[in-house]
């Protein structure tokens, strides 16, 4: 009996020791601290940061993607740095400087390849997600924007200078490139819909957007809202909008206008305009709460202290508030009950309830910009 008691105790102790070693990452996230080259590891349940990871170089305009197991983050720095961060061990696992000037990246649907979009030298480079060894170099002689992953081990990206969209199919190991020309003048960013079907490019050099149906074996540019700004004086654009935080609300897409203080609504099937909502300033992000009932919008300098919330049933602004100076980014919890907001010049990340609009938490961060929850690991294009 005594022996049995000891055995029980041993099993119990082993189990508790094991429990201490279990690390879960499903409710974690990373916040980019752009000026100090660091990341804050944050815990959504704790509503707080739990670690600072330093040494990532120039993180202005940095973004990141997650491995399918939500253990590793691949961080794309402005200085061309590609850093693999182990969020379970809370440390940098590997880092390469792969170009002189980069602007974001993507991870393939199977999680084995990481692609980086480069300004200088212009093009896309593709790396082994395990080792960070380069497996493909796709020079474009243009700045590349709007790099996303697409189903079938593909990456899609667009050329700012040349107005072309390229599809790089990596299914055979070597890139097979399909080029689609006449996308439009100065495409500045692009998105892919969550089903991987539509790739929509925003244009700076002309009004409208261009959609590509990736289900079409020979994709062609489809003009969307080609005259949305016609007859109106374009306003100066002090910050380019982002399309990555694209919003799909029910059957419609909501997109930031360029040079106009509006968001634009288009039908998800026909791509015809279904409405416009006048906003407080030039929108930067228009992001749908995951259920699609609300769209949260922030704005370019000098109106970047404000957020407006739009009800997608009425297309009307139902809430407006000023979290603080320089609201740069918003990230919803996976089911949308709260939103985390980076307020750069307040040095804070603020957390709001999306139904009551009440602030439910905040914590310190050094010039916070992008907020990325690990749930992105399982969403196409993020």
């Amino acid at each position: 009996m005594k022996w049995l008691g000891s055995a029980f105790l041993a099993v119990f102790m082993a189990a508790s020791a094991q429990a201490d070693n279990i690390i879960t990452t499903g409710d974690l996230g990373l916040v980019v601290e752009r000026a100090s080259g660091s990341l804050l590891l944050v815990d959504q349940s704790e509503k707080n940061s739990i670690e600072r990871i330093t040494g990532l170089g120039d993180l202005s305009h940095a973004s990141l993607v997650y491995s399918p197991d939500q253990r590793f983050a691949y961080v794309f720095g402005r200085d061309g740095g590609l850093t693999k961060v182990d969020i379970a061990k809370r440390e940098i696992a590997d880092r390469v400087v792969q170009s002189g000037n980069a602007i974001g990246g993507a991870i393939s649907d199977d999680g084995t390849l990481v692609a980086v979009s480069n300004y200088e030298p212009g093009g896309v480079r593709i790396f082994d997600a395990e080792t960070l060894e380069m497996v493909a170099d796709i020079p474009t002689e243009s700045k590349t924007i709007g790099l996303v992953d697409a189903p079938g081990r593909k990456f899609v990206f667009t050329l700012w200078d040349d107005g072309e969209t390229w599809i790089a199919d990596m299914s055979s190991g070597e890139p097979q490139i399909t080029k689609i020309t006449e996308i439009g003048a100065n495409p500045y960013d692009a998105l892919i819909t969550g089903d991987g079907r539509l790739y929509i490019t925003g244009l700076f050099g002309e009004d409208g957007l261009t959609a590509i149906d990736l289900w079409n074996p020979e994709p062609k540019p489809i003009r969307v809202l080609p005259d949305y700004g016609r007859g109106q004086q374009d306003l100066p654009v002090y910050k380019m909008p982002h399309l990555e935080g694209w919003a799909r609300a029910g059957r419609e897409f909501v997109l930031p206008a360029v040079g106009h203080h509006q968001v634009l609504w288009i039908d998800g099937q026909s791509l015809a305009e279904t409405g416009r909502t006048d906003t407080y300033g030039q929108p930067v992000f228009a992001m749908a709460r995951p259920d699609g009932r609300q769209v949260w919008v922030n704005f370019a300098h000098p109106l970047n202290d404000t957020i407006q919330v739009i009800d997608t049933l009425t297309k009307e602004i139902v809430h407006e508030f000023k979290p603080g100076p320089a609201v740069l980014h918003m990230e919803f919890s996976p089911r949308g009950h709260e939103v985390w907001i980076s307020v750069r010049d307040a040095g804070k990340v603020m957390i709001y309830d999306t139904r009551t609009f009440e602030k439910t938490g905040e914590f310190e961060a050094e010039s916070p910009s992008g907020i990325f929850f690990t749930s992105r690991a399982h969403r196409m294009g993020l």
Partner: protein, 102 residues
């Protein structure tokens, strides 16, 4: 009137309107954070070109001030005149050309 200036200064993130001259600290912050949206936080370029001193050496202060105030047509460079005074634009041009501001 003074209150109005203060209100405008707050509205425009510390960069004052009219003939007021902003502090060097505020202007440098504006250059890094807001010019940096396109030109990169370190000004070595992004969607917009490299605007570090060695890349701008063909400009004088007056021409560069005009570029800041009126933008460059048919490019993504916007006119900043609605948001800043000529005096501030001149200080920004000086900062960009010299890499520092006294």
């Amino acid at each position: 009137m003074r209150n109005l200036f203060i209100a405008l200064a707050l509205l425009f993130s510390g960069v004052s309107h009219a003939a007021d001259v902003s502090s060097s600290e505020d202007l440098i912050n504006l250059v890094k954070q807001d010019c940096g949206s396109c030109h990169g936080l370190t000004l070595k370029g992004g969607l917009g070109p490299d605007i570090r001193p060695q890349s701008l050496s063909h400009y004088d202060i007056e021409t560069l001030s005009t570029v800041v105030l009126d933008g460059i047509p048919d490019t993504a460079m916007p006119p900043w005149r609605p948001l800043m005074s000529e005096a501030d634009a001149a200080k920004i041009a000086e900062y960009l050309l010299q890499g520092e501001l006294k």
